[in-house]
Amino acid sequence: MKKLVLRLRDWPPSAWIFFAWLVSLSVLPFLIILAMSFAVRSESGLISWTFTLANYERAFHLVYLKVLAKTIFLSLGATITCLLVGFPVAYYLARATPEKRQMGLMLLFIPFWTNFILRIYGIVSIFGNHGLLNQTIMRLGLTDAPLEILYTRFGIYLGLVYNYLPFIVVPIFSALEKFDLSLREAAMDLGANRWQTFTRVLLPNVREGIAIGSLFVFIPMMGEYVIPDILGGAKEVFLGRVMVEQFFTMQDWPFGSALASVLSMGLMIAVWVRMRFEQRKAGPTSHGLR
């Protein structure tokens, strides 16, 4: 204990700021949520501090598991799409001249100068039944009825991809930027065609960037509330929406907290497993033959 106190005193100010931030805005709120998840909702909608596991029992009910599965499915799909679109964008930027690169990165984030809610409503004005897209294709006589894009699962997916795409580009971009192009030439020189060069040399060397970028978008997607609320309509349920509903509509904070805890713990375990996996890989290798 004394040792720890001494060590705390040796921390530089930057570490203190980080520590303070971590505790007050991340660890503490999480512990409060965790504590609430074991409490009981009182008749009046307040929290009564009696220990129970009932919230968790309910959280693992089939209805909620289905919501979870749907949320994972949509977030995973959107993450993969972000990856497929984001990778070529990152590749182009990493290989562009410094001026083009700076310009490209700025353009990528210009939409973020606009308020998030406004941007989502922007999507509505493009993809809605009376939106730009449907008006155009109907005028052109391509369809008689407007395409149902909004208030469907596809609408949520579209919103997720649109909003999170830039965040996956940046980590992949920085990994690609560090990639030594002579490795590509070496692979081709040793007999690898373009595809083999990509899969056997480029991808393994930027894997870390891809993993970080994917987590960067996947985790916040899982908890997304605004996008499914505006673009998903009434019938499409998404974990984030269910949680918010529990807190603000149903006034059931303990159950909402249980749902939030399950999600957070699940993600933490997933990240932890991945880190362990990486550590094992970084150690001395065996080449599979011995």
Partner: protein, 360 residues
């Protein structure tokens, strides 16, 4: 084993142009492209490797035109300047890379990788990661990786430049031994003339996109085709003068320093010539000797003792000469010091005669 031929190979980009290049490199030969940076030697290597497309001419490997062949379809491998080893793979997997692509059986891959790793003496490093290797080890891994699927031609892009100078000579010797064992054709790109002389069966000296001379190290050192080649391959002293035939078959060069006898080989020379003398072909005399034909008087301005030899800077009345004397020679004489008066002499046949180049 195939002969590798460049037939009027051309490449231009930006302000650089590789002049039509004709080269025929024999199977199993160790051939070097030597020249200062920007001379086009790396361009030639990249054309041979398939990383650049020529703007003219063609490359033949045996009877096969490989000019337009993609790098991965050529039976030519490269050892890159900074080795370009794959950081995500172990040493073993780096070496096995080309064999895995060919889909060989595990047992055969194991056999061939083991064989090449013991030849290059990296057998104990199989499980290491690339970032755990020293410079010399990285170089051997790069060499093993390029040699493992028995390429017809191996291209070496300044493979020693990333090594400590103290390591270079030893690694070069080992490289030469390995090359002779493997029996492939080796093409080395370098700006280090010592490297080229030590390793090559033949070499080409390049400058400004042009190939100036092709020949054995000895031929290039002793019989350079122009002043640039002569001075690039090793230090020279120059005496400019006028060539004259005093009697049939007897030639002299008259300069401000005196008149010297020369031996003229077949080539036609203009009246204004340069006489080039290698430092180690000149001798120092304590006293004027009447038997010596070519004699210059001077004073020792500086001397550097280098163990096996001593290098002198001799100032004559209007020129400065570099003279290198083997230690054995030196021991026979009284030690020379700064400011000593000495006479310089050389054998007539050791002077290289070339047309005068434009003054520098």
């Amino acid at each position: 084993m195939y002969e590798l031929r460049c037939e009027s190979l051309e490449k231009s980009f930006g302000s650089f142009a590789l002049q039509p290049l004709d080269l025929a490199i024999q199977p199993g030969e160790f051939f070097s492209l030597l020249g200062p940076s920007g001379c086009g030697k790396t361009t030639v290597l990249r054309l041979l490797g398939g990383f650049e497309q020529p703007t003219g001419g063609r490359i033949m490997l045996g009877d096969r035109d490989i000019t337009r062949l993609q790098p991965h379809k050529r039976n030519i491998h490269t050892v890159f300047q900074r080795y370009a080893l794959f950081p995500h793979l172990s040493v073993f997997e780096n070496v096995a890379f080309s064999l895995r692509l060919k889909g060989l059986a595990k047992a055969e891959i194991q056999l061939r990788v083991d064989e090449i790793m013991s030849l290059t003496e990296i057998g104990t490093l199989a499980d290491r990661r690339i970032h755990q290797l020293s410079g010399g080890q990285s170089q051997r891994v790069a060499l093993a990786r390029a040699l493992v699927d028995q390429p017809a031609v191996l291209l070496l892009d300044e493979p020693f430049s990333a090594l400590d100078p103290s390591l270079r000579v030893r690694v070069r010797e080992e490289m030469r031994t390995i090359c002779k064992k493997v029996g492939a054709t080796f093409i080395l790109v370098t700006h280090d003339q010592e490297e080229a002389l030590q390793l090559s069966d033949r070499l080409a000296v390049m400058k400004d996109g042009r190939c100036l001379q092709v020949g054995t190290p000895k031929a290039i050192y002793e019989d350079p085709s122009d002043a640039f080649v002569a001075s690039f391959i090793g230090p020279v002293n120059e005496i400019r003068g006028e060539l004259a035939e005093t009697q049939p078959g007897e030639w002299t060069v008259s300069s401000a320093m005196g008149t010297f006898k020369v031996r003229k080989n077949g080539i036609a020379l203009p009246r204004d010539v340069s006489m080039l003398l290698r430092p180690e072909k000149m001798r120092l005399l304590r006293q004027r000797s009447n038997t010596q034909e070519n004699l210059l008087e001077g004073e020792i301005q500086d001397l550097t003792y280098l163990g096996s030899r001593t290098e002198y800077t001799i100032k004559t009345h209007d020129n400065v000469f570099k003279v290198s004397e083997a230690e054995l020679e030196r021991q026979k004489k009284r030690l020379l010091n700064r400011r000593d008066r000495v006479f310089l002499t050389w054998k007539t046949e050791d002077a290289i005669l070339l047309p005068q180049s434009a003054p520098k």
